[in-house]
């Protein structure tokens, strides 16, 4: 057998095995929306940990973080910090969101907006935003898979065809397995990815430089200042300290605002389960250190990749210096890291759209069976949109993720103020949200046209968030909401 056949066979076998495993774990459950979307609100600490942690190891972590360490150096360290910030916020935010969800029978984040602000229009707006913002995120995972399949095929292989097939498999997987199947499949994924990351971060540097620390010594000699944020005038001068801080804040605050997050929160058995998860989740982030090591190693062993090509960096090193079975296993781990998070996101986005836009907005598909079917059709629609974006544009994985966060973080003021401040009403939140989206994407577009990444040295999405919050606060002070909010927690 040729190397190409061996590597691709391993990838195919692993994906197929994972799907079969997921299907056997959900076979006997009745599939109503409560079960399908929020897992029957019965996930204990372990399954919830797997589900939440599963969203960390995506192909973004696997390839994108290494790619940035390779291409931009210390700027990549933001990825280590933003999850940690998110868990510190989530420690306070998630238990009350869960409690209200259980009391009021909520399934989505838009439900929370409708319940708290008593405004269907706001709910529809939130649902539609989450639905469309997921497209670049799913594109990111597709992009990651295309890189992995391309490299596992040793270049003699059409990545576009492969990724299309994989995507169909994933869509089928989503609408047979639901949230619980995806959570259990994440067990296989996390074990494989952890193994692959440790291999890439320890065995790769050891192979070339004796040890990871030997690799760091070499890096500091050959690339001085690579592990600090650049002073003005440097090649990566856009990624300065103000950019770094505002990007961590933007992405950390927006972390739990995605369409997959509210269902994951509601799937918890108790508030305590969530709190315990938030306490220990930062430890999982430390694995990123090894991803950085893999990127740094690739920088010295296989230099010359530029821009979004650097996402391929450490996989190319594995392809060049290791046997086909090793490449196959690492690529398979990476493919699962793309497929499973994309599957939770597709499910979350489709659920929120079918419930809050079709159901609440237009009174379509309101019965349990129709809604489950609408969710399945919508999964296919987002998947197709993501495929179209992937075919038409090229962007680095980190760029796609940051594009997503510019929009998704604008939902945070409505959630946080909604929990802690009674004066805030639907007009304040709605105006802030719309202003945030418009300013955020206008500035992002302006920056892209001018080939820069920052506006006044800071992340454009963060500027938009500041305007969003300011507008929301001003309107709330000028026109306080009269109604007593339904779900304000006792503390």
């Amino acid at each position: 057998m040729s190397s190409q056949t061996i590597a691709l066979t391993i990838v195919g076998a692993v994906i197929l095995g994972t799907i079969l495993f997921a299907l056997t774990s959900v076979r006997r459950l009745k599939m109503d929306p409560q079960e399908y979307i929020v897992g029957g609100r019965s996930f204990g600490a372990l399954l919830l940990w797997i589900l939440l942690a599963g969203e960390i190891y995506t192909s973004f972590t696997f390839l994108g973080a290494a790619g940035w360490a390779y291409d931009k150096g210390a700027a990549a360290f933001y990825i280590l910090a933003y999850g940690t910030l998110a868990y510190c916020i989530g420690f306070f935010l998630l238990p009350p969101i869960w409690r209200i969800g259980k009391e009021r029978g909520l399934l989505t984040l838009a439900d929370l907006f409708i319940d708290r602000y008593d405004s269907k229009v706001l709910g529809i707006l939130v649902a539609a935003l989450q639905f469309f913002l997921v497209v670049p995120y799913v594109t990111l995972q597709l992009s990651g898979m295309q890189i992995l399949l391309g490299i596992a095929g040793y270049g003699g292989y059409n990545g576009t065809v492969a990724v299309s097939i994989a995507f169909v498999v994933m869509a089928l997987f989503v609408f047979t397995a639901g949230l619980r199947g995806t959570a259990w499949a994440s067990v296989i994924k996390d074990v494989l990815v952890l193994g692959a990351v440790l291999f890439a971060g320890i065995a790769l540097p050891a192979h070339f430089f004796g040890s990871p620390l030997g690799m760091i010594d070499r890096l500091l000699q050959t690339h001085p200042h690579w592990t600090i944020l650049p002073p003005p005038g440097h090649a990566n001068a856009s990624y300065t300290i103000p950019w770094f801080i505002t990007t961590i804040l933007l992405t950390g605050i927006g972390f739990f605002m995605g369409p997959a997050n509210a269902p994951a929160i509601y799937s918890a058995r108790s508030a305590e389960t969530l709190r315990r998860n938030m306490i220990f989740m930062p430890l999982y982030q430390l694995v990123l250190l090894f991803v950085f090591f893999a990127g740094f190693t690739a920088l010295m062993v296989h230099p010359g990749l530029k821009g979004h090509a650097s996402d391929q960096s450490f996989m190319l090193v594995v392809q060049r210096f290791y046997s086909a079975p090793v490449l196959g296993i690492v690529a398979a781990a990476g493919c699962l890291a793309a497929l499973l998070p994309a599957s939770t996101l597709l499910l979350g986005a489709a659920s929120v759209f079918s419930k809050n836009v079709l159901g609440d907005g237009f009174n379509i598909a309101t019965g349990d069976r129709e809604r489950t079917w609408a969710t399945r059709v919508l999964v296919l629609i987002i998947a197709a949109l993501a495929l179209v974006i992937w075919l038409r544009y090229t962007a680095s994985l980190v760029d796609l993720l940051l594009f997503y966060y510019v929009g998704i973080t604008q939902l945070a003021p409505g959630v946080i103020f909604g929990l802690v401040w009674r004066r805030v009403g639907p007009w304040a939140v709605g105006a802030g949200l719309l202003a945030g989206e418009i300013i955020g994407y206008s500035l992002t577009h302006w920056a892209a046209v001018h080939m820069v990444v920052t506006v006044w040295n800071v992340n454009p999405g963060f500027l938009a968030l500041v305007v969003n919050v300011a507008l929301c606060v001003l309107i709330a002070l000028a026109f306080p909401a009269k109604k007593k909010p339904a779900g304000v927690p006792a503390g």
Binding site: A74, F77, L80, A81, T84, L85, Y87, C88, I89, F91, F92, L213, I216, D217, L220, P224, H225, T227, I228, L229, I241, F244, I245, I248, L249, G252, R275, M278, I279, F280, P282, L283, Q285, L286, L289, F292, G491
Partner: protein, 65 residues
Amino acid sequence: MTPAARFTQIALAAIPPVMLTLAIPFVNREEPRILGFPFLLAWMVFWVAVTPLFLLAANRYGRST
């Protein structure tokens, strides 16, 4: 929970995020190396690693008051 207790809880949980964001201008350096790691990376890894301790403390504090 009293407002003072709530404040202490939030302050405890805010320490790691502040160290990972606002403190960055003061730690953006390569030297001194800590266990072989460049300083900025060592600083960030340290604060991520000790975050569970701060959140555990916040959790204890929330329950005892």
